[in-house]
Symmetry: C2
Subunit: 395 residues, 2 copies
């Protein structure tokens, strides 16, 4: 057989696996080290009580013939969940219809799999630095990638005028609030991208994974808050952060009906076809848990968790501030992004691990322009975060 | 943007969606019709008590900080589940190691996504008739497809000598027990394919979804029961049938370490990389439920469900027999496959729906060679199955 040789072009192993391996090796050599893990963006707060109750109840329903459920028809998500998501958007004035929402097991899956519906020779425009899976999934399928630079010059919010000369993208990735920099686009900032995408005929893949962290009401949480987005944008979101669902697995993708190629082929129909052919839906138990996230009680409980993480971010930020280390993020985002000494982020990762027993994520893992920076996450438990802050400021 | 135009080459909509639409239309025009659904291969028995208990317990664990779990490290499945699966194989003398097992949300996902690791211009050899997603996923990605014919001549068990002249496949699909025909390969039958695949350097994708239905101990339930399979085969399986997990979503793929391309690239590493980059693991709740399927209590309870469905198959088979309609399957398989009058399976589907209020699946939906046949499934509830048998035999 012949393998897909594009896999051999991938750099090292996937960032977070590499970090896990390096940490495991250190831990194995230093078994007594009490590590504080502020590396991977994984949550630590337990699920909201409303969610747990819904999931335990759904599990029991599946054990009774009268309430048993098999395949979620078509695998696009139960009506009860799709309408709960639509209401979550409607509550902030964003109109999306249930049938434009396709439920999945998570944003990472959708961000990778959505490429199936685009031509093989599509050109992806990807911010640098950014969540590394965007690049890896394009490289894996042999697609061309161009980068648009995020840096202090543009506050890590690249704009259409930063697109390199000669590059006309087919697909544009935007992640706001940004992973890893914590930067958040303003409405005007997103409007510029929407106008650009409509002008060049590109599709924006808007990764809204961190929308629940936006506290400043003047900042957009959905691309569909922006006029013109329905003809150029797909929004991909997850319950991993709002609901603490990293281990429960639920996300969704919104494809507006108006979004078509030049021949009028609807991307919604293509994505639906992709999913119904290569996916079979999300666990009923997970979908009932997800529905509960968007209930009044669930949202209140989930928002308390978001506040908890934002307080963590404030504590980490305070430690950096007291060391006079400039940082970004942490206010409308769970991520703190700061400059490392000597510009070598893997060296600083090692130093932080060895000297402070703190696990961070080296900026270089997010792209060439991430070199020189470090990402810390606010998803830890409070006592661990406080311990990390203490270790950072102790000499 | 430019879409993947291969999607436009797909026939109609996905088979089971089309059936659902036709049934919904009939039901809407005839609201009082009491339909018996023997079409889609969805289970109806509730989950085993051991599974329900494990899932409710896992849900509660996620609501407590000390037992909360986030990302399943790497997204390949928890150790507890991978070792339970390895033990399930070991119990019938098949040695697979935990790290060769990659857990997923289902066989349909893996069967579609596994193509990512093969070259774009791979040639897939696909039985006709067979589960239609094999063809659709290849067409979607623009891969070439050749068919190997199943018919009464070879008891719907195509052999290497049936491969058309001039065809040298890269990827060979085998589904045994077969969907839709119910045919099951013998060890010798599979050995012939293993020898062929090793000789031509092809990979067998062995779909073992229905293995739990095999009652005849002389018949193989895993490709890895066959000498030589570890250098040429990948096995994809699901808990949908053994555990009734169609709504819970769990499957797994086994890639032996010895399976490499000519340059020594291990397919296990490629598949692991694909999954860790484009997937983030299966719900912890689902994985605990899956572990319970493979416990002693769970297996006993699940096997009682399998026996229930096999008794359904016997009842449907008995009705066909009394009508002197020859059929296949139903003994080591949940599917019954029989010849329809006049050779037009969609016409017979309509007739069965209108005259008997029974939903079947037209053989033509499984490929050109499926035309002239009908598939009924044994996954219904007993009273419905008995009602269907009565309607079939009533004049």
């Amino acid at each position: 057989m012949r393998i897909n040789r594009h896999f051999l072009e991938l750099k090292d192993s996937y960032l977070f696996r590499r970090i896990a391996q390096e940490v495991a090796a250190y831990k194995s050599a230093n078994p007594t080290a009490d590590l504080v893990r502020l590396g991977i963006g994984d949550v630590t707060q337990p699920l909201a009580p409303a969610v747990v109750d819904a999931m335990a109840q759904a599990s029991r329903e599946l054990g009774v013939r009268e309430t048993f459920r098999g395949y979620d028809d078509g695998g696009v998500g139960y009506d009860f969940l799709r309408s709960a998501i639509a209401r979550y958007y409607a509550a902030r004035g964003v109109a999306v219809s249930d049938d434009e929402i396709i439920v999945s097991d998570g944003a990472k899956s959708d961000l990778g799999n959505i490429l199936d519906i685009f031509a093989d020779d599509s050109l992806a425009l990807i911010p640098d630095p950014v969540y590394p899976a965007y690049v890896d999934t394009n490289v894996m399928s042999g697609r061309r990638v161009a980068y648009v630079e995020g840096s202090e010059r543009n506050d890590f919010l690249p704009a259409p005028q930063d697109v390199p000369d000669g590059v006309t993208p087919d697909v544009i990735y935007i992640c706001s609030p940004n992973n890893p920099t914590g930067a958040v686009y303003t409405r005007d900032g997103l409007k510029a991208w929407v106008d650009y995408a409509n002008a060049v005929g590109a599709v924006i893949l808007f990764d809204a994974a961190y929308e629940a962290f936006v506290q400043d009401e003047t900042l957009p949480r959905s691309i569909f808050e922006i006029d013109g987005a329905r003809t150029c944008a797909i929004e991909i979101c997850t319950l991993s952060k709002i609901g603490g669902f990293t281990g429960v697995r639920c996300g969704y993708t919104i494809v507006p009906r108006e979004l078509t190629d030049a021949d009028g082929n609807a991307l919604l129909a293509l994505w639906r076809r992709r999913q119904t052919t290569k996916f079979n839906g999300v666990s009923y138990v997970t979908q009932r848990g997800a529905e509960a996230v968007f209930s009044d009680d669930g949202l209140a409980q989930c928002r308390a968790n978001i506040s908890y993480y934002l307080e963590n971010a404030r504590i980490i930020g305070g430690a950096l501030q007291s060391l006079a280390i400039p940082y970004r993020g942490g206010t409308n985002s769970p991520y703190i992004w700061f400059t490392v000494p000597n510009g070598d982020s893997w060296a600083y990762f090692d130093r932080l691990l060895r000297e402070k027993h703190i696990v961070g994520t080296p900026g270089a893992g997010f792209g060439q322009r991430g070199e020189g920076y470090m990402r810390l996450t606010a998803f830890g438990q409070r006592d661990k975060v406080e311990e990390a802050a203490k270790r950072l400021t102790d000499n």
